[in-house]
């Protein structure tokens, strides 16, 4: 009798272990749970890097690789984005032809509000990024929109981020529409694509701090806190969507347009994953 009981028990355990291999939550609007996703991601990172406090992840790869951090700290002694900050402040304060300015389009005059973006716009049923809000403010006031990836858009965004340093991200996912957008971004992040069959997570979750040629990919946690950034590879300042385009292309996929709905949803997901962390943009990266 005992043999039968034990055999059945063992078979049950084996069957359950097979079932447990498939995730059963978080793949639909009904089941997706942004807070649970964030806690799970934090737990993953705690297991991988037990000596790194969660608050450190705003610093990307420099949170987990001492050698890279030493070089980065040397670079930050004379931040390469300083001139962009000055240019951004000037652009931000320059009145439009109609006498209004960017400050008129944002809460608190646009100062210290970076942590609220990207935000879910329930009326429009879409995610609004900070760069999108900046350009909409310009066009609504009869000005020409900035280009999306670098230059003035990144400089203004950098200035607005700078005025928000230390503020804590707490991006809500308030309704089913927002959940659908969040889920779309989450799905994009974890989906393998392109000729190289790579997902964002392949490099930034399992591949974090593991060499990809000569690079050490940054951790998935905190990736949205420090943009826009001056990348050594770019030689200038750029937005997070500029980075998305490059990553997407590097997987040998046909990449999307910056500020496309999918990239905005991706930024929404990534920023929700950064909830509880501080704004520390603009930043400098390799």
């Amino acid at each position: 009798m005992n043999i039968i009981k034990n055999t059945l028990l063992a078979l049950s355990v084996a069957a359950v272990s097979h079932t447990a291999m498939a995730a059963t939550t978080g793949a639909t609007v009904a089941t997706v749970d942004p807070d649970a996703d964030r806690i799970a991601l934090q737990d993953y990172m705690k297991n991988r890097f037990p000596d790194t406090p969660i608050s450190e992840y705003v610093n990307g790869i420099y949170a987990v690789d001492a050698g890279s951090r030493e070089q980065w700290e040397a670079i930050e002694e004379f931040p390469p984005y300083d001139l962009d900050l000055e240019a951004g402040e000037e652009l931000f304060n320059t009145p439009f032809a109609n006498g209004k300015s960017l400050a008129d389009c944002f809460e608190n005059g646009g100062i210290g509000i970076r942590q609220n973006y990207p935000m879910w716009d329930a009326a429009r049923k879409t995610v609004v990024t900070l760069e999108m809000a900046i350009n909409e403010c310009r066009t609504d006031n009869g000005e020409k929109a900035y280009g999306w990836k670098k230059g003035p858009i990144a400089q203004v965004s950098a200035y607005m981020a700078y005025t928000s340093r230390g503020e804590i991200f707490d991006i809500p996912v308030p309704d089913d529409g927002a959940k659908a957008a969040y889920l779309d971004g989450k799905k994009f992040y974890y989906t393998k694509r392109g000729q190289l069959n790579l997902s964002c997570a392949d490099c930034h979750l399992t591949g974090t701090n593991r060499l990809v040629r000569a690079d050490l990919p940054s951790p998935a946690l905190g990736q949205a806190t420090h943009f826009p950034v001056v990348r050594s590879k770019w030689g200038d300042i750029g937005t997070i969507h500029r980075r998305y385009e490059g990553c997407h292309r590097d997987s040998r996929s046909e990449y999307l347009k910056v500020q496309s709905e999918t990239y905005r949803n991706l930024e929404y997901f990534q920023t929700v994953m950064s909830n509880g962390l501080v704004v520390n943009g603009p930043g400098s990266r390799k």
Binding site: L11, T25, K192, R193, Q195, L205
Partner: protein
């Protein structure tokens, strides 16, 4: 006794895994690896080629009609890959090369480039189906 029970359970699992029918994809890949393109193999009682669809199409006589047909097939497959959001970076480049070669009367080159694009699009469509079923597996679980 518990050990015997565990061994019985593991044996049962192993047997169930071994007795699973071989999929067409596995059979194709195994025979392709063993014999290369142009061979035949049997699967579920029927004969199949170890050549890919693209190898079959591009090995037809190099002429205008076959080049046009292959380019049309590649364009349709590219559209399919785009619609599911899994077109690869170089699909359009290969299609352009195929069209330019066709215009220049270089039919074999046109067919080779179109076949390359077709292969990438077909793989992209397959990748989309796999991703739909498996993307969630990569999400860290709650402890």
């Amino acid at each position: 006794m518990k050990k015997i029970a565990m061994i019985a359970a593991l044996a049962a699992l192993s047997v169930s895994s071994l007795t699973m029918a071989q999929s067409f994809e596995d059979a194709f890949n195994m025979n392709r690896a063993m014999y290369g393109a142009g061979a035949t193999f049997e699967w579920n009682g029927a004969q199949y080629s170890t050549s890919s669809i693209e190898e079959e199409l591009s090995s037809k006589p190099a002429n205008k009609a076959n080049a046009e047909a292959l380019i049309a097939a590649a364009e349709a497959k590219y559209k399919e890959a785009q619609e599911v959001g899994f077109a690869w970076r170089d699909n359009s480049k290969y299609l352009k090369e195929a069209q330019e070669a066709l215009a220049a009367g270089e039919f074999q080159k046109a067919m080779d480039s179109a076949a390359r694009s077709h292969l990438q699009s077909r793989r992209g469509v397959e990748q989309a189906a796999y991703a739909e079923a498996h993307w969630i597996d990569a999400v860290p679980p709650l402890n």
